[in-house]
Amino acid sequence: MELLKELSEAFGPSGHEKEVRQVLRRALEGYADRVWVDALGNLHALREGTGPNRLRILLAAHMDEIGLMVVGHDESGGLRVRAIGGIDDRVLPGAQVWVGSDRIPGVIGLKPVHLLEQGEDEKVVKIDQLLVDIGAKGKEEAQKWAPLGTPMVFATRFEEVGALVKGKSFDDRAGCAVLAELVRGDRLPHDLYAVFTVQEEVGLRGARVAAYANRPDCAFALEGTIADDLPKKKDVSPTSELGKGPAITVMDRSFIAHRGLLRLLVETAEALGIPYQFKQPGIGGTDSGAIHLAREGIPCGTVAVPCRYIHSPVSLLSPTDLESTVRLMRESLARLTPDVLQM
């Protein structure tokens, strides 16, 4: 959990992943046989296998998180912002942010309840109506502290909550933690190309070039995915649930899982009694959407740690789910043979 804490608190909106990369570099030291960073900023770590017929397996988890970016300065010193990645405007007012990697504290301003006009409380305040307040005295000071283009993330500390943990950006720092554990564990039969990707939240950009460069035989995206456990009037199809084990993707909006890899995951989980669930088919998208299209096509699967309230200032996950995800991946990779990939 120490690594997850460090990853969760790291500053790393899409395109500004340096701090996350540094955390991971340190975490992998002594475990990876080779570490390199590519032109887009993806961190690659090779963990060589021990088997006689080694496959090249790409494992991808994205380092970037959603955030905001300064696009203007008001006379008052407030910062105008726009979203980096998919942010729901409803979660913004009142949230606290870290502005820039120096973490200047900021607050997303909100009109007090006393001043609301009739019906105003029923409307969502759009992002272009909001200001981020960093206590600047005026436009000039705001420009000095947070120039145009300064990125920001939600200011959320990692904490334990009952049997769960909470923090920001479990999408996809949870996947990064799973992947780091896989690299740090005992060697597997195959060569693992662990890639911590950039810019997933804005278009799966890092994964695309990483898949091209590493020429893998197959790949898995490791994710923190949607768990919607809120009470509902009617739920005809739950997404995934906390505490029920890793969520395996069959099909989402970006790709269809390779059937051989899907079977491998399910059979491994059932043989070893590892809990698992299927993520609700047809929703979301992950790095697999870009990876499977590389070169002549790459068989892909996606496995995720269920996380509540993703793409908001704070998400919750169950450490047990995270451990089960590491175990499911490790055992599945150990059982992976070339015939699994045969179509």
């Binding site: 005809v236 199809s237 739950p238 069959v250 099909m251 970006s254 790709f255 269809i256 899982a257 390779h258 059937r259 899907l262 299927f278 609700q280 088919p281 047809g282 929703i283 959407g289 499977h292 299209l293 070169r295 002549e296 096509g297 790459i298 068989p299 990939l341 179509m343």
Partner: protein
């Protein structure tokens, strides 16, 4: 060709679940090709080597079809589902679906406030006759296709999955009748066209063709109060000018026009405002591939009863055979 089309359209094969249709096609093309292989994502490639001095030409027809996937099994054994590819709730209501393991399901609807309004997918469910989760013969992630037998009526052929098994049939028939060609021809039966065009795109990367042609269905404007479109059933195969995803390369387009004229096959020019084909993905591979599309006019696309004209299909085969003789 009736029997070939019956066999191909009645076979199960939604996007991502193409094993069965691939093995049917493999058995058909293996004796006719110099080489047969399957790409990492599952597209089937049958190669016919040319006599020399020709180009490397990729012909692609997709073998996947639209369908539905189970997202949830409730305590009474009813299934909730999501579409695979462009499925409409309108044509789903009352339809039958067939799973890979043979299980048949009926699509039903919850009580709706306004029965005149088209239901949403959230209001629909599949009933496989189960009484609970324990005796439900399918699970989350299983996929089904619409169930409808092939019918031939005069010149018209009606079936589910005409999109794009009719293209597959055209490719198989072309391969059967093709004697000599200067070109190295790659007949590709692609996967996952209906979802992401993944199969043709990745196959094209491996093949590195000089030219690529998708053989797929296109809409028509000849039915009552239809969206205006200058393509009609029975007026010959259509040579695509452009659709929502690509503009046909002029050289490829003119090559098909010259072939149709040399073969004496009536043809139509096609501009499709909605939808696209594998050609949209193939043209963007590597440094770019001059691409075009030979289309089979088809009514009621993405419903369980897609209708084509036998003469258009025969015409498409003859255009391709002629084109493959030309340098």
């Amino acid at each position: 060709m009736d029997e070939l089309i019956r066999q191909l359209t009645e076979t199960y094969g939604p996007s991502g679940f193409e094993e069965t249709i691939r093995s049917v096609l493999r058995d058909l093309v293996a004796p006719l090709a110099d080489e047969v292989r399957v790409t990492p994502l599952g597209s089937l490639v049958a190669v016919r080597r040319g006599t020399g001095n020709g180009r490397r030409i990729m012909l692609a027809a997709h073998m996947d079809e639209i369908g539905v996937m189970v997202t949830y099994v409730d305590e009474k054994g009813f299934l909730r589902f999501t579409p695979i590819g462009g499925v409409s709730p309108l044509t789903s209501l009352g339809a039958r679906v067939r799973f890979e393991n043979g299980v048949l399901g009926v699509i039903g609807s919850e009580k709706r406030e306004d029965p005149n309004k088209v239901p949403t997918f959230e209001q629909l469910y599949i009933d496989v006759g189960a009484t609970g989760r324990d005796d439900c013969p399918v699970r989350v992630g299983d996929a089904a296709v619409f169930e409808r037998p092939f019918a031939a009526q005069g010149r018209r052929w009606i079936a589910k999955a005409m999109d794009d098994r009719i293209g597959c049939a055209v490719l198989v028939e072309t391969l059967r009748r093709l004697e000599r060609t200067p070109h190295e021809v790659h007949f590709v039966f692609s996967v996952q066209e209906e979802t992401t065009l993944s199969g043709a795109r990745t196959a094209a990367y491996g093949i590195e063709p000089d030219m690529a042609i998708a053989v797929d269905v296109t809409g028509t404007g000849d039915t009552p109060e239809s969206r205006p479109m200058a393509v009609e059933l029975g007026k010959g195969p259509a040579i695509k000018v452009q659709d929502a995803g690509m503009i046909a390369h002029p050289t490829v387009r003119e090559w098909l026009v010259r072939a149709a004229e040399a073969a004496g096959v009536p043809y139509q020019m096609e501009v499709l405002e909605r939808g696209t084909t594998d050609a949209a993905a193939m043209q963007l591979v590597r440094a770019g591939v001059p691409s075009g599309c030979l289309s089979i006019p088809c009514r009621y696309i993405h419903t369980p009863s897609e209708m084509v004209d036998g003469e258009d299909v025969e015409g498409a085969v003859r255009v391709l055979l002629q084109a493959l003789q030309m340098v």
